[in-house]
């Protein structure tokens, strides 16, 4: 068993090396497929970060009447947190609201002076609510409409921002679906091209496969080396893709940061290097092996 495996591996490397022109061409095509796949993974991450950045900016605020008891507000906060749609609820008391206001206008002496002259805090306590999904804000708003704390609520920002929030939710959802469809389309194109390249590579060995069968080679003995070659193609294509794409990612990183503040493409690439390598290997080696298995099967039916 071990001897047979060792022989299969030996023939795999031998086929790869002695068929060097075909190997080179196949690796080149696989390399392009892996680069496309890796691009999809990276752009998927950029898209996710962009969507998250926009999503993080969406929230609804509940403003309370000035004499609303704090325990009533906190009770509402607890009730909101029990909703499955709610991601987070931040309570900002009247005093905290005033402090934030002062901080925000510290550079403006007129406002600072006006605040100093006030006898009473005119700001209202509020709850800032973030939903897990932008299209869930209407559900949270209707919960607030029907809650027993309604009497202490002065205003809910959702009704004012409803159109914007709904539109953003639709755009984000469309963005996600478009990304998924594009990813699938590119993956299918990459797989078809790679499959056909491997089909042609093995087709050129069709006669050899027939000879091996005549000599008495079992299907596993014939198939095995082609699978090994598929693995070698995949590994080399993936390593080349990672090495060749690194300088481009490094160069593009500052430009991406302009569009998505806080996003470091290079940081993501380096931080997810092994994850990316794993995905790429799964894709590249997967295509190499699966294509080989499918193609060789056709010639083993003789």
């Amino acid at each position: 068993m071990f001897t047979t495996l060792a022989r299969i591996i030996k023939y795999g490397f031998q086929n790869f090396w002695r068929n060097n022109l075909v190997s080179f061409a196949t690796i080149l095509v696989l390399l392009l497929a892996v680069v496309v796949f890796q691009g999809m993974v990276i752009f998927g991450e950029i898209g996710k970060q962009a969507i998250n950045a926009v999503q993080d900016k969406i929230d609804i605020s509940v403003y309370f009447v000035s004499n609303a008891p704090e325990d009533e507000i906190l009770k509402l906060k607890e009730a909101l947190l029990t909703l499955s749609e709610v991601k987070s609820v931040d309570y900002i008391s009247k005093d905290e609201a005033l402090e934030l206001f002062k901080e925000r206008h510290a550079d403006d002496p007129t406002i600072s002076q006006a605040i100093g002259e006030l006898e009473e805090n005119p700001l209202r306590a509020s709850l800032n609510i973030k939903a897990k999904n932008p299209n869930q804000y209407s559900l949270i708003a209707s919960f607030l409409e029907n809650d027993s704390s309604k009497s202490v609520i002065q205003e809910v920002s959702y009704s004012q921002n409803q159109v914007v929030i709904d539109r953003l939710a639709k755009i984000l959802s469309l963005g996600r679906r478009t990304a998924a469809v594009l990813t699938l389309a590119f993956a299918i194109v990459a797989i078809i091209i790679s499959f056909n390249t491997i089909l042609l590579a093995i087709y050129s060995n069709k006669e050899e496969i027939g000879i091996m069968r005549l000599v008495g080679a079992s299907n596993a003995f014939i198939r095995g080396p082609y699978i090994i070659v598929g693995v070698i193609y995949g590994i080399i294509a993936v390593l080349l893709a990672m090495i060749l794409s690194a300088p481009f990612i490094y160069a593009a990183s500052p430009y991406v940061a302009v569009f998505i503040p806080g996003m470091s493409l290079w940081g993501f690439f380096m931080g997810s290097f092994f994850k990316l390598l794993g995905y790429n290997l799964l894709f590249g080696v997967g295509i190499g092996v699966i294509s080989s298995v499918i193609v060789i099967r056709k010639y083993l039916e003789v």
Partner: protein
């Protein structure tokens, strides 16, 4: 050892073999003769399981060839040494590697291979060209490699389909002498040929085919097709 019982085969409405029956015993040297298109190669293809008969039974040792599944054939072919007119060598391998490949697929040990593969090549006179790739060898040398590969696993039978068809007279007799030597060592040989001179000089059993039918089966026969 080999039995054909009422075997028929049709390709594109043309009956290539008609009700063919014969038996070959162990250690026999049998020439299968006939004009081009007489059915010799079809008979060989059916015997090695490359095709199935429409009718009849083909038995080789314990195997009923016509009933074997595709995945069962490799094991049977390891008991056969097959030689073709176009050599059918693995083109990206050396003479030595071609012989070794046949041994490796048969599961022979490394020690065995290291001993028997050079011996087989020495026997066919290619001791000095073991490291040559197939494209570096002449037609006669390629056929010698094919013979070394066919005999190295000590098969029960050598099946040679027009092995000298692409060779000059000197190489032709070199190959025939090798087949005779293999037969003397106890291996059955089935030689499909339309070379009259060879058959007539061999003075061995001759099965003559014409238009898909056996017209003659004689011990120490001659090449007669009428």
């Amino acid at each position: 050892m080999i039995t054909f019982s009422n075997v028929s085969k049709t390709y594109n409405h043309h009956e290539v073999l008609r009700d063919v029956s014969f038996k070959i015993e162990p250690k026999e040297f049998v020439s299968l003769v006939g004009r081009s298109g007489a059915g010799k190669s079809t008979l060989v293809r059916l015997l090695i399981g490359e095709d199935k008969p429409d009718k009849g039974r083909i038995v080789f040792g314990p195997y009923e060839i016509n009933k074997l599944q595709s995945q069962e054939l490799p094991a049977v072919r390891r008991h056969m040494g097959i030689i073709f007119q176009d050599f059918k060598l693995l083109p990206r391998k050396t003479a030595y590697e071609n012989v070794v490949f046949a041994m490796e697929v048969a599961g022979r040990s490394e020690e065995d291979i290291e001993e028997a593969a050079p011996q087989a090549l020495e026997l066919v006179g290619l001791g000095k060209k073991m490291s040559n790739y197939v494209h570096e060898l002449s037609g006669g040398e390629r056929q010698r490699v094919a013979i070394a590969r066919a005999m190295v696993n000590q098969p029960d039978v050598i099946i040679a389909d027009e092995p000298t068809g692409n060779l000059d007279p000197v190489n032709t007799w070199g190959i025939i002498n090798l087949l005779l030597k293999i037969n003397e060592l106890g291996t059955t040989v089935l030689l499909a040929t339309h070379n009259k001179d060879i058959v007539n000089q061999l003075e061995r059993r001759v099965i003559s085919l014409d238009d898909g039918m056996i017209i003659r089966d004689e011990d120490k026969g001659k090449y007669i097709l009428t």
